[in-house]
């Protein structure tokens, strides 16, 4: 039991060590808040509440201000995301070419909703986004950084099945 609680403490220290390095890099400058949060999110894949509080104290601003910025921008996640983040484009070109059906199919297949968009096994997060800027390939979805163009609901299912298969092995 002791070892597990020591591990937890060490984990905490390790966490903040990385944050400290990021803060140092930006010279604790409050106007660098967005790049700081971006880098912190790259480390943890989301913004844990205690980390945001720590950042606020270090920058000498209120936690409310940090939370306000973090919750304003779509790219900051306040909840942990899955290993595979699927962006489904809802831009105009994708919309007129039927991205809505792909979105519905993904939500149904992975049994997630717009509010609870991560699967319980933390494998997938489905996130509709406004435009990925690859309109020539509409409809488009991305899995992490990989872009898939001219997707159909069936093709999307194949992509998901392949990932599930890969993860099981």
């Amino acid at each position: 039991m002791c070892s597990s609680c020591c591990n937890a403490q060490q984990e905490q220290v390790r966490r903040f060590e990385k944050v400290c390095r990021i803060l140092d890099k930006h010279q604790h400058n409050p106007s660098r808040l967005i790049p700081i949060l971006q880098e912190v999110q790259k480390e943890y894949r989301y913004l844990p509440e205690e980390v945001m509080a720590f950042i606020a104290t270090s920058l000498g601003v209120s936690p409310a201000k940090v939370y306000g910025v973090a919750s304003f921008y779509a790219n900051f996640a306040l909840k942990p995301k899955g290993k595979y983040v699927i962006h489904i484009c809802e831009g105009t070109a994708c919309h007129v070419k039927g991205s809505g059906k792909i979105k519905d199919a993904l939500f149904k297949k992975l049994n997630v909703t717009p509010e609870n968009n991560t699967t319980p096994d933390m494998l997938f997060t489905v996130q509709p986004v406004s435009c990925l800027g690859a309109c020539g390939l509409a409809p488009v979805m991305t899995v992490n950084e990989e872009v898939h163009g001219q997707v159909t609901p069936e093709a999307a299912m194949v992509i998901i099945d392949e990932i599930i298969k890969k993860e099981r092995n």
């Binding site: 910025v69 304003f72 070109a93 872009v147």
Partner: protein, 631 residues
């Protein structure tokens, strides 16, 4: 350090020397579209094949190399749908839809046998004509690519190539030979207007900022291209980042600023990477730094990644975001020219606008005015997408007609299966969520800032989404309203609450729950939001609604009074039907129907009572023969 006037020439000489032994250059498009279709694999396969044939392949041009074949990656060439694209120079042969497996044949046939791989050439679907080079393809032949000229040809990660093709000469001229006043005057004389949406004269904006007395001024390059359906800024930043950077430097000279921020949308990781590299390379050569071209003036640049908020395309919101705040707009005046970033005079220009600047300084305002119209000189890049045969990025002079764009360059309108259908044209949505619709009667109008505004739309950033007759215009209005409602920052009430209510009204119409009064309420509300909102996002949010109401009122009315969606796209209004041909009379559907709306004899086609049907879809799921439609 590039302090002496000869250094750009020296770099050019070095580059030209390095290119000399090269017999062929193979350009592989590495824009986002082509990469998604596997162009990087094609690149690797081509390199392997070049070497397998005993030729030397070079990827990075070094001086005095012994290479024969130069393999380079380019930015987006615009014809995304036909990607991956591979061009072989100096012949200019363009291969489309290339796969890694084609590499051996390409190398053998083109480089060794000096012939062409016929099956990979583009065939014009309209005339069946085989096109050997880019210039022969109607999609390209009808365009005038000035801004996009080098984009898709040069290696965006090689600053020396940009310089060898005349890059940074304009910046040098602006810093070493011109006064700030002169730079502003040249741009004013060219008539260049802001490409971000508003169309404000760029030279005038610069002159206003130059007048301000301040110890510090800033240039901001707005690369937060949030407009769904537009991707020209992305292509420029990915395909020719140095051109954008040079434009930023000239803007800095014009207003006497020594620092710039490039704000790039977070969804564009490749653009962020390329612009960052461009800045670092320019800094390493001393093009950016404490003493720009020996002028004694300093200039430097920082690339900032956005965090995902459409409203940050609005200039005051964008500045708030750079300052580390929530990206909320503030009332104007004071304008950014008077009080911008950290209260200092700031000029904010769009990526595409800045990319035009070096060309104007190099070739002169008169040259720029040679194409385009009196009020809107030059060319404009449009993102042509939707139900059109050739999708991609195109550039045409201002004043070109929509007919030319959609039918000549775009190759015509397609039906839902992707086949060209000459009668399928319904509308073009221009300018994204702030814009409006253009219809049949506008096909021959000249596209420029002022004409489009008069029709009740706006050029905006240049997204052109073509829609066929199976598109429901109420749904389109709803789509944009949902977008702006989502992106409304919540600061001012007309936008925050107004967009929400408009969205609800549109939903009621789509679900057949609207009444005769709904349209009047919608119209009144739209006008109120237009007048009462604080920033451009709210002021223009009702445009898609007003524009569709204006041209497609009959579609709204059909939804409301006849409970019918003319395009057959609104699910709630679809008429449930069982196809007599497909139905085998198994009775499964009737058993599943919770309200007893389906009747029929066994082994006979069944029927649905549309009045009883609650459109739950249980019957369609139960049917093994796909005979049920419209539920």
């Amino acid at each position: 350090m590039l302090t002496d006037m000869q250094t750009l020439e020296l770099i050019k000489q070095g580059y030209d020397k390095a290119v000399k032994p090269i017999q062929h250059r193979i350009i592989i498009c590495a824009g986002t579209g082509c990469v998604a279709n596997g162009s990087l694999k094609v690149f690797a396969a081509l390199k392997k094949e070049v070497e397998a044939n005993g030729l030397t392949a070079v990827v990075t041009l070094e001086e005095c190399n012994e290479g024969q074949i130069h393999l380079s990656k380019s930015g987006c060439q615009g014809f995304c749908q036909m990607g991956p694209l591979v061009t072989v120079e100096p012949e200019g042969i363009l291969y489309v839809k290339v796969k890694a497996e084609d590499a051996a044949e390409i190398i053998k046939t083109t480089l060794i046998d000096k012939s062409k791989v016929e099956r990979l050439l583009y065939v014009d679907p309209a005339h069946g004509q085989v096109c050997h080079t880019q210039k022969e393809i109607p999609f390209y032949a009808q365009q005038k690519r000035i801004e996009l000229g080098d984009c898709g040809y040069i290696d965006p990660e090689d600053i020396r190539e940009y310089i060898a093709r005349g890059g940074y000469y304009a910046a040098r001229r602006a810093y070493a030979k011109m006064t700030a006043q002169q730079v502003c005057e040249e741009i004013t004389a060219s008539g260049l207007r802001g490409r971000g949406g508003g169309g404000f004269p760029t030279g005038k904006k610069w002159a206003l900022t130059l007048q301000q007395k301040s110890d510090k001024k800033y240039v901001v390059c707005n690369g937060d291209e949030g407009d769904p359906g537009a991707f020209m800024d992305r292509s420029l930043m990915e395909g020719n980042p140095h051109r954008v950077l040079e434009g930023i430097m000239i803007a800095g000279r014009a207003i006497e600023a020594d620092f710039a921020y490039v704000y790039v949308r977070a969804e564009y990781p490749l653009a962020v990477e390329r612009v960052r590299k461009a800045v670092e390379d320019a800094r390493a050569l001393g093009i950016l730094g404490a003493d720009v071209f020996g002028s004694g003036m300093a200039f430097d640049c920082e690339v900032m990644e956005g965090a995902g908020a459409f409203v940050c395309g609005e200039e005051t919101a964008l500045m708030a975001s750079i300052e580390g705040q929530r990206g909320m707009p503030r009332p104007k005046p004071p304008f950014p020219a008077q009080s911008g970033l950290w209260g200092k005079p700031t000029v904010i220009n769009n990526v595409e606008t800045l990319a035009c600047v070096p060309l104007i300084i190099t070739n002169g305002p008169g040259w720029y005015r040679e194409c385009g119209t009196q009020g809107s000189p030059g060319t404009k890049t449009f993102a042509l997408t939707g139900h059109v045969a050739n999708t991609g990025l195109i550039e045409v002079p201002f004043g070109s007609t929509l007919r030319k764009i959609v039918f000549d360059i775009g190759g015509g309108v397609t039906d839902t299966t992707g086949e060209i259908d000459p009668d399928a044209f319904k509308a073009v949505q221009i300018g994204g969520p702030s814009g409006g619709c253009l219809i049949n009667e506008h096909l021959d109008y000249p596209l420029d800032f002022d004409t489009v505004k008069k029709i009740g739309a706006m050029v905006g950033s240049g997204g052109l989404v073509v829609m066929n007759n199976k598109t429901c215009m109420v749904q389109i209005a709803h789509f944009f309203m949902r977008f702006t409602q989502n992106e409304s920052c919540g600061k001012c009430i007309p936008c925050r609450e107004g967009t929400k209510q408009m969205l609800l009204l549109l939903e009621q119409i789509m679900e057949g729950k609207a009444t005769a009064k709904t349209l009047d309420t919608l119209q009144t509300l739209a006008e109120a939001v237009q007048k009462g909102s604080l920033c451009g996002l709210g002021k223009t949010a009702p445009n898609p609604v007003l524009s569709t109401l204006n041209y497609f009122r009959h579609e709204y009315e059909a939804h409301i009074f006849q409970k019918r969606c003319p395009a057959g796209a609104c699910k709630a209004l679809a008429i449930p039907e069982i196809s007599a041909e497909l139905c085998k009379g198994c009775g499964f559907c009737a058993k599943k129907c919770p309200v007893g709306a389906i009747t029929g004899e066994r082994k006979q086609p069944h029927k649905i009572d549309a009045d009883k049907c609650i459109r739950c879809g249980a019957c369609a799921q139960a049917c093994k023969f796909n005979a049920v439609a419209g539920v």
